[in-house]
């Protein structure tokens, strides 16, 4: 992993140097990597830009447009559409409406993050179905799997036994597929985000749209299957009556709690992954910022930056797992809370 990071360093530098025309724009460098893009920039060697153009799918005022993103390269306009530079829609495909204002059409392009999402999802499905296939091909008497399948099995079972069974409570079996899917989905995307070259590198879980969908799923699972006792605790909690009437203070707080819980899930995962990537890129950027400060400082700072980069990468590896685990565990806890039974003494 760290080796890959080091290999990726030249690509980062070269892009930064060519983009900033000598003047390095760290901000752009970092957010360019974290953010989304219409093409997948792999590497730039000298003047050769190696990018993978991705399909643009847009429904503008003139109907559906499907074309390659290479048509928009360098700010070119194609079929009335172009990539905005600056403003509120910076970096997004826009068109001009009748009043001459930049407006965003309905944009479901396969962007870098979407493709990353596809690749990672395909990988996850392949891994899991591959494991499932192993079980179908081997009878019980042949014993437990070894190697990769054994590793997946151990991970699945540890999440299943410790997190799902432990946090959800009675009918954990119903929620196990969702929680396991969420865990492995987040984990695979986190880990793939750490690989700096093509198949990985898209900071999928560092994007709020992705974490939002995941949190929304937990929200739905929590509230759709909520028990009567759960709703009663929200709207008529067991607190002194003056806290409930005439001003419904506690119900209001509890009601907001329904939304803050998944919101916290969304922000936590997004912020952790985004911040991790930003920190790593910042450390690498130190090398190129200090170029002007002379060879000695630049050399020593390079050593420090690489050392910290290695450290951060190792840390991110841990964070990738922890965040997936925390997301699953909290989802399980929220679901478990929504499955509360009526209190006995009532």
């Amino acid at each position: 992993m760290t080796l890959l990071l080091l290999l990726a360093v030249p690509s980062t530098t070269l892009k930064a140097e060519t983009g900033g025309e000598g003047e390095l724009d760290v901000n752009e460098l970092i957010f360019g990597h974290i953010g989304d893009a219409y093409e997948w920039h792999v590497v730039t060697v000298g003047d050769l830009h190696l990018t993978i153009p991705l399909p643009v799918i847009v429904k503008s005022s003139t109907g559906w447009h499907v074309f390659s993103s290479s048509n928009l390269e360098g700010g070119k306009e194609y079929e009335g559409l172009y990539i905005a530079d600056g403003g509120t829609n910076d970096g997004k495909i826009v068109e001009r409406n009748a009043a001459g204002e930049e407006v965003r059409p309905l944009d479901i392009s396969i962007t870098k993050n979407v493709l990353g999402l596809f690749i990672n999802s395909a990988l996850l499905v392949c891994i899991m179905l591959g494991c499932a296939r192993w079980y179908r091909k081997h009878s019980l008497e042949q014993g437990a799997p070894k190697g990769g399948v054994g590793m997946i099995e151990a991970t699945v079972m540890s999440i299943y036994e410790d997190v799902v069974k432990g946090c959800v409570g009675e009918d954990y079996k119903r929620y196990a597929p969702y929680l396991l899917t969420a865990f492995f989905f987040v984990l695979v995307n986190n880990l793939m985000g750490l690989i700096p070259v093509f198949p990985g590198g898209a900071t999928v879980t560092g994007n709020i749209a992705v974490t939002m969908v995941l949190a929304l799923c937990t929200f739905l699972f929590t509230n759709i299957f909520g028990t009567k006792a759960y709703w009663k605790e929200i709207f008529w909690p067991e607190v002194p009556t003056w806290l409930k009437v005439p001003i419904p203070m506690m119900p209001l707080i509890e009601f907001f709690g329904i939304f803050t819980k998944p919101f916290a899930l969304m922000i936590r995962l997004f912020a952790n992954m985004m911040a991790g990537h930003a920190a790593m890129l910042s450390l690498i950027a130190i090398i190129f910022i200090t170029v002007k400060a002379g060879a000695v400082i630049n050399g020593s700072m390079t050593v420090v930056a690489v050392a910290f980069g290695i450290f951060m990468n190792a840390l991110e590896l841990l964070v990738a797992f922890i965040q997936a685990y925390v997301f699953t565990m909290l989802s399980a806890v929220f679901i478990g809370l929504s499955r509360v039974k009526e209190h006995k003494e009532k």
């Binding site: 989304d36 944009d107 499905v125 179905l129 196990a176 597929p177 899917t181 939002m212 799923c217």
Partner: protein, 167 residues
């Protein structure tokens, strides 16, 4: 571009992708793995249980075998002692019978000997009588050559007879 504003395009694709992944994994992925692991667990538990039962049975069989062995040994001892008793009895019986038979034979032999002795004696007596009569005849013939002698003898003999009849 705000980092905190979710992009609708990505949102759309995320819903689609996650939905597909969820359906696939929830249907063909995790249940298979979990079921396999739980089946294996049950299988191992069963195997352990049956192994324990087999062990218990084995111990039971061993115990049973020892019991049977002990019983057999006891039986053997009993039979042996019984046989010894029977043997002793048979020997004793035989001895007793032999003794009785011996005595009977002895008695018979004695009786026979007695009979034979008596008949022998009788025979001898007869012989002796015959002989003595013969001898007496001869003597008589010799002695009774003269009449005096004959008379004297007759007298004496008569005397003797008288005397013996007196007695």
């Amino acid at each position: 571009m705000g980092l905190l504003t979710p992009d609708p395009g990505l949102l759309f694709w995320m819903v689609v992708t996650f939905g597909v992944v969820f359906v696939l994994l929830a249907k063909y992925g995790f249940p298979v793995i979990i079921k396999a692991v739980e089946d294996r667990k049950a299988y191992i538990d069963n195997s352990l249980k049956s192994a324990r039962e087999a062990n218990e049975q084995l111990a039971h069989v061993k115990q049973e075998g020892e019991k049977i062995l002990a019983q057999a040994r006891e039986e053997q001892n009993r039979i042996l002692s019984e046989a010894a008793v029977t043997r002793d009895r048979i020997i004793k019986d035989a001895q007793d019978r032999a003794a009785v038979e011996g005595q009977r034979l002895m008695a018979e032999v004695k009786k026979q000997i007695e009979t034979e002795k008596e008949s022998a004696i009788r025979d001898i007596r007869r012989q002796v009588a015959v002989l003595s009569v013969g001898i007496a005849e001869k003597i008589m013939r010799g002695k009774l050559a003269d009449g005096i002698e004959q008379n004297a003898l007759i007298d004496r003999m008569l005397d003797e007879m008288l005397e013996s009849s007196k007695k």
